[in-house]
């Protein structure tokens, strides 16, 4: 009885405020401030963040969106995993350490690599020019210039917005207003193009899942075969030594 009622209320609610499930990727080279930005957006404490050499994912409710945020490691040795997450992204948050002029070229190359990927071209990108609190940090104009951003986003047709911010200001009320505004822009842009993006993501992730399943079956078969051969060889050895 109660469960029936509960169900009704939840369907009614769903009808009234349909929420959209979307996935965003937080990318950028190591030490840019991705994890700190993620924690700020999620309202978690930003103390004691360690470099990410892997994958961390969290979900939050924001307006009419159920947002899943994938925070990926940006170090040279782990960046190669990014390609596996591109198809499910509705948009990117690309974080740059504005205080590290020496690594701007590296960051530019990494961004270009992303935007020219057919799984990303055309999707919206929020660029966070982070660490503005550090004296001597590059300003918005310099960051745009050094990343060659105008040319990049025009070439690959990615709606783009740049926000200068300090992710380390804090979470919740203390969070940098520019970061929050950038995030809102990203969600609104996704919302405005939702049907198209959704179709694209559904299609591309289905293809990827299929390929992954196939790959998994093949791996299991190969491992089984190798194990059987090894067991056989070991049996053979025992026979050899006993006879």
């Amino acid at each position: 009885m109660f469960s029936v009622m509960g169900n009704c209320i939840s369907c009614w609610k769903r009808h009234r405020e349909p929420h959209k499930e979307i996935t965003l990727l937080l990318v950028g080279i190591d030490n840019a401030g991705k994890t700190v930005a993620a924690k700020g957006l999620l309202g978690e404490s930003i103390e004691g963040v360690a470099p990410t050499v892997g994958f961390s994912s969290s979900s939050m409710r924001y307006d009419k969106f159920d947002v899943t945020l994938h925070d990926l490691g940006g170090g040279k040795k782990i960046r190669a995993i990014w390609k596996n997450y591109l198809s499910e992204a509705y948009g990117l948050i690309y974080v740059v350490d504005s205080s590290d002029g020496e690594r701007m070229q590296e960051s530019k190359a990494v961004l270009k690599d992303l935007l020219q990927n057919p799984r990303i071209s055309g999707k919206p990108v929020l660029v966070l020019a982070n660490k503005q609190d550090v004296p001597g940090a590059l300003d918005e104009i310099d960051v745009v210039d050094q990343l060659d951003l105008e040319l990049l986003v025009n070439t690959y047709k990615c709606p783009c917005r740049v926000e200068t911010c300090s992710a380390s200001l804090g979470q919740g009320k203390k969070m940098d207003a520019a970061l929050r505004a950038g995030f809102r822009w990203l969600l609104e842009t996704i919302g405005a193009n939702f049907d198209l993006l959704h179709k694209r993501v559904e299609h591309e992730t289905a293809l990827q899942r299929e390929a992954e399943e196939q790959d998994k079956r093949e791996r299991i078969a190969r491992v089984k075969k190798a194990q059987e051969e090894r067991a056989k060889a070991e049996g053979q050895n025992e026979e050899d030594c006993c006879s």
């Binding site: 004691g48 892997g54 961390s56 040795k77 782990i78 960046r79 190669a80 995993i81 992954e212 190969r222």
Partner: protein, 180 residues
């Protein structure tokens, strides 16, 4: 309340006890790693037939680390240790490329276990002191780590032989648990 019990209570707050499970194929270096964590002698280690357990302190946590033998005939018993696991540490021999697929398949099977659902995963890419050790990206690829989306995971390059990287991995473990 007596003074002693107050003291005990104060002390017991930061001392959260955590259960850490150390798994991986045979010869990955689990026991060597465990001994290195406990600052014990790492010479004369033999393949583990059952399990070893040690408690180590780190960042206000008491970590109870369980090291289970990885030989094929022992693997079916891993499941006896899954209950109440706070962190899963999976150790691999980074130089043994021939077995990346096998260790990946074994890991994928583990992660399907209900009792380990959502448990954070640390992968120690061990034996980095060997000249032919694979880097993190190759290991992520070889083990198909990107298909793991239901939990946080991290790769830590290390050498149980020299001790390098082990502390960084344990720091990650403590940090990823603090927010709980």
């Amino acid at each position: 309340m007596g003074l002693l019990s107050i003291l005990r209570k104060l002390k017991s707050i930061p001392d959260r006890e955590l259960r850490i499970l150390l798994l991986g194929l045979d010869n990955a270096g689990k026991t060597t790693l465990l001994k290195q964590l406990a600052s014990e002698d790492i010479a004369h280690i033999t393949p583990t037939q059952g399990f070893n357990i040690k408690s180590v302190q780190s960042e206000g946590f008491k970590l109870n680390v369980w090291d289970i033998g990885g030989q094929r005939k022992i693997r079916p018993y891993w499941r006896n240790y899954f209950e109440n696991t706070d962190v899963l540490i999976y150790v691999i021999d980074s130089a043994d490329r021939k077995r990346f697929e096998e260790t990946g398949v074994e890991l994928a099977e583990l992660l399907e276990e209900e009792k380990l659902s959502g448990v954070p995963l640390l992968i120690y890419a061990n034996k980095q002191d060997l000249f032919n050790a694979a880097p993190a990206s190759e290991i992520a690829e070889g083990l198909n780590l990107h298909t793991i989306r239901d939990r946080v995971w991290q790769i830590q390059a290390c050498s149980a032989m020299t001790g390098e990287g082990i502390k960084d991995g344990m720091d990650w473990v403590c940090k990823s648990l603090k927010k709980k």
